[in-house]
Amino acid sequence: MTTLTLGSTTPADLPVGRSRLIASEWTKLRTVRSTWWTLLAMAVVTLGVAAIAGSAVTHNWHTFSPVQRLTFDPTGITLKGLLFSQLIVGVLGVLVMSAEYGTGTIRATLAATPRRGRVLAAKAVVVGALALVAGEVLSFGAFLLGQSLLRAPAAHATLSQPGVLRAVVDGGVAVALLGLFALGLAAIVRHSAGAITTYVGVLLVLPLILQTLPTSFSQPILKFMPLHITNTVTSVVAVGIQGPSLSPWAGIGVLALDAAIAIGIGGTLLVRRDA
């Protein structure tokens, strides 16, 4: 390996193909193990919670009070595990951006594509698409698995009942939107640990802090918290949820707005800052 024969190619010889930025980002995403580990973790926990919830309710149905039986939401209970998908998809979304800073790959990326806004847009497309597919597969999977374990006399749900299909679809959409929100956060923060901490802070810690404050102050804000929204959109029977809530459509709209704002700020900073 001490000698190197240099080809006689001149720059003109190399054929020019189309730049495929989205394909490039997909190559990056699928060629690191963390992507597949995070998806596996999402699947295990989300489906696991659905299985446990379904069989636990079936076994304990005889202990439920009449009120509990009437307000029981068989859809919502099997989708509770999506909370973990929402947390883990944050890691996926963050790493897509922060791992580039951590490893220095960002320099190769931005040298190859100096139009930086397009880089973040392409990342958003692949993260959004992968998280949406994963979210829908897991949401439908958790619902179907949970329902198959909810046996009579326990109530169970079918997709044809009012509001059920919407709840299951929205469960997957919420996962995708939170993945995009995490991507935007990472573009702002640029460090894996910092971005993941911020993400978990917004998702879990912020609502906890709000709950310690007087309800007159916290209640109008609480309904805009991502965790509150995802709880609302994955429910068909709204009884178990504390305080006022946004409608499912408004809730999804707020999650989309959060993602758009995070990516917008992240993109602006990406363009302005030194790499």
Binding site: T2, L14, G17, T105, R107, A108, D274, A275
Partner: protein
């Protein structure tokens, strides 16, 4: 062709590069020489469009980096820090780069072969040695078959075999008509690799020109002379065009060789107590040149004429 014009880059209160102008022509290796912290990596990042300059411009083939539509086809770079995800294979690293610039994927195997990494193409980069990582970085730089190449300290940490390999690679690339710009903090390395030199110290240009000129003006010999009639001798030598510095007991004469100094003294009947030729090593010359380089920043100019500016 790289052209840098009156570049200035500040990081908070550090001025990393100031009023820097030079050019990197095709067909030769241009060395970028300066001590650690003198602004070489910063300048290269600015050329690559990664860092934004405060003032001034850097262009590649006449255009700023940000305006290049397929930059990898025009510029390739191996930047200082190893910038590759350790979990990805060598082939996949090059594949995603190729996709961004519409480069045929067959080219990935081609460049891996060129740098001798074909056999480890599917292995994760985290398992690579420093030398292999460096080769992969070079493969990435060559991916788009660019006419302009930048290498930031490419031989750092390499074994002698690897150093020789890089040296020959750079020369070969220049011989193919490409503009090759390579940084180092070692004068000895540059003397072996480069045809032209851009020398900076504390972010400012010290000299730009051919390596021969640089060596002639900076590492040139001086003559040490001791005599009881120093003042008179000094006048005579300076009248002959020498530059003379007083070194307490002796005179340090540049511009004349020992024989000429001896002849002049003899003709004037001045006794000499010592007459010796002093040879500064290239490395010493470079260090003396850059150690107090801050005084040159006002004189750095964009002169395209290869002239070595010399320290006094």
């Amino acid at each position: 062709m790289i052209e840098v014009h009156q570049l200035e880059k500040r990081y908070r209160d550090t001025v990393a590069v100031r009023d820097l102008s030079f050019s990197v022509p095709p067909g030769v290796v241009t060395g970028f020489l300066g001590p650690n912290g003198s602004g070489k990596s910063t300048t290269m990042r600015v050329i690559m469009g990664l860092d934004r300059p405060d003032t001034g411009t850097a262009t590649i083939n006449g255009r700023p980096y940000a305006e290049l539509r397929h930059p990898l086809r025009e510029v390739g770079a191996l930047l200082e820090a190893r910038a590759i995800h350790p979990g990805r294979s060598a082939a996949n690293h090059l594949r995603f780069l190729a996709q961004t610039n519409g480069i045929p994927l067959a080219r990935v195997d081609e460049v891996l072969d060129r740098v001798g990494l074909s056999e480890v193409a599917r292995r994760r980069v985290g398992k690579f040695s420093l030398g292999m990582g460096q080769r992969l970085g070079i493969a990435a730089a060559l991916l788009g078959d660019p006419g302009v190449l930048l290498f930031d300290e490419p031989v750092n940490g390499l074994d002698p075999e690897g150093i020789l390999w890089v040296r020959n690679l750079l020369k070969g690339l220049a011989a193919e008509g490409r503009s090759v710009f390579v940084s180092s903090h070692l004068m000895s390395e540059m003397a072996l690799t480069a045809d032209r030199l851009v020398v900076i110290g504390r972010g400012a240009l010290i000299s730009e020109g051919t390596v021969e000129d640089f060596i002639a003006t900076t590492a040139g010999t001086s003559v040490r002379v001791r005599s009881p009639r120093t003042a008179q001798l000094r006048q005579l030598l300076e009248a002959q065009g020498a530059s003379v510095t007083d070194d307490v007991e002796a005179l340090d004469v540049r511009g004349l060789d020992a024989a000429q100094v001896g002849e002049i003294a003899c003709a004037a009947g001045i006794a000499l107590h010592e007459l010796s030729a002093q040879t500064a090593s290239l490395e010493e010359a470079f260090m003396s040149l850059t150690s107090d380089s801050v005084e040159y920043h006002g004189r750095a100019s964009a002169s395209p004429v290869p002239t070595g500016r010399q320290a006094r």
